[in-house]
């Protein structure tokens, strides 16, 4: 069991270093997604399957897709040759190997972990939900207000406003 943790941790550290030290933002983001998947495997091994699923869905699924969207929006028109570069195997062979290692790791974890996941002593998602909506109810509401403010702020900042300037001020 322990070797699975060490393999996942090694994949996470290596892909994080690759993500930070890369030149191309898209390649770095793919390494970062791989790092988040490795961290998710670590969470699964730590008997937190609910959090592992949240990590994949929200971090690797939603937040990273937002990153990739913005990066592709900003790089548009600058790099026309990128598609040619992406098709050579040097770019994706290493992340693929790492992802395959992670997949084997995860399958092994599932096969060896079955008696543990039904253990009564572990933290079930139900317990997390009960704690979330009873003890931490106020924090949930504050988080809701924060999300609302985030939505409005992102909408306000993202909208491209027309310049409103008097014609006498244009020359200055």
């Amino acid at each position: 069991m322990n070797i699975l943790f060490y393999i996942a941790a090694g994949v996470a550290i290596f892909s994080t270093i690759m993500a930070i030290s890369g030149r191309n933002a898209i390649h770095s983001l793919l390494y970062l997604i791989l790092s988040l998947l490795a961290v998710s495997v670590v969470f699964y091994l730590l008997n937190a399957p609910f959090i592992a699923a949240l990590e994949v869905i929200i971090y690797a699924g939603a937040i990273m897709v937002l990153f990739i969207f913005v990066t592709m929006m900003l790089n548009i028109g600058i790099e026309r040759e990128t598609e040619k570069k992406w098709l050579n195997p040097g770019m994706w062979i290493l992340p693929s190997i790492l992802a395959a290692i992670l997949l084997v790791n995860f399958i092994l974890a599932i096969h060896t972990n079955i008696p543990i996941t039904i253990n009564k002593a572990d933290i079930a998602p139900k317990q997390v939900g009960i704690s979330l909506f009873s003890t931490y109810l106020l924090a949930v509401e504050i988080a809701a207000i924060l999300l609302m403010a985030g939505v409005i702020g992102a909408y306000h900042l993202g909208s491209q406003k027309k310049k409103v300037k008097h014609r006498f001020l244009e020359k200055i």
């Binding site: 930070i20 983001l29 730590l46 990153f67 009960i130």
Partner: protein, 104 residues
């Protein structure tokens, strides 16, 4: 059952946090700086999960959910700001945005 000692797990989280911190200090591209902040958030949340597993309490996982929502808001706002900066300055270099600095 996972029998990795808590110290080793914390060292793993610390290494990830350190990589994020180094990336934030070294890189000047705003996208990379934001990615480093993400890595640091993630490793901080990982410590919560490790503590939650170690003491068998669900509170750590609840805290991770809050960290997740804060991260989502932060990323949305920061990416909108990056879009605006790129729109004004035509670059993503963080050192180019220094209009608030006293240059005299």
């Amino acid at each position: 059952m996972l029998t990795v000692p808590l110290e080793t797990q914390l060292i793993f989280a610390g290494i990830l946090f350190l990589i994020g911190l180094i990336g934030l200090l070294v890189r000047r591209n705003m996208i990379f700086m934001l990615m480093s902040i993400e890595i640091m958030f993630n490793s901080a949340g990982m410590v919560f999960i490790m503590a939650s597993t170690h003491w068998k309490q669900p509170d750590g996982q609840v805290m991770f959910i809050f960290i997740l929502s804060v991260t989502a808001v932060e990323v949305a706002i920061a990416l909108a700001l990056i879009l605006q900066v790129y729109h004004h300055y035509k670059t993503l270099d963080a050192d180019a945005v220094n209009k608030l600095k006293d240059t005299n």
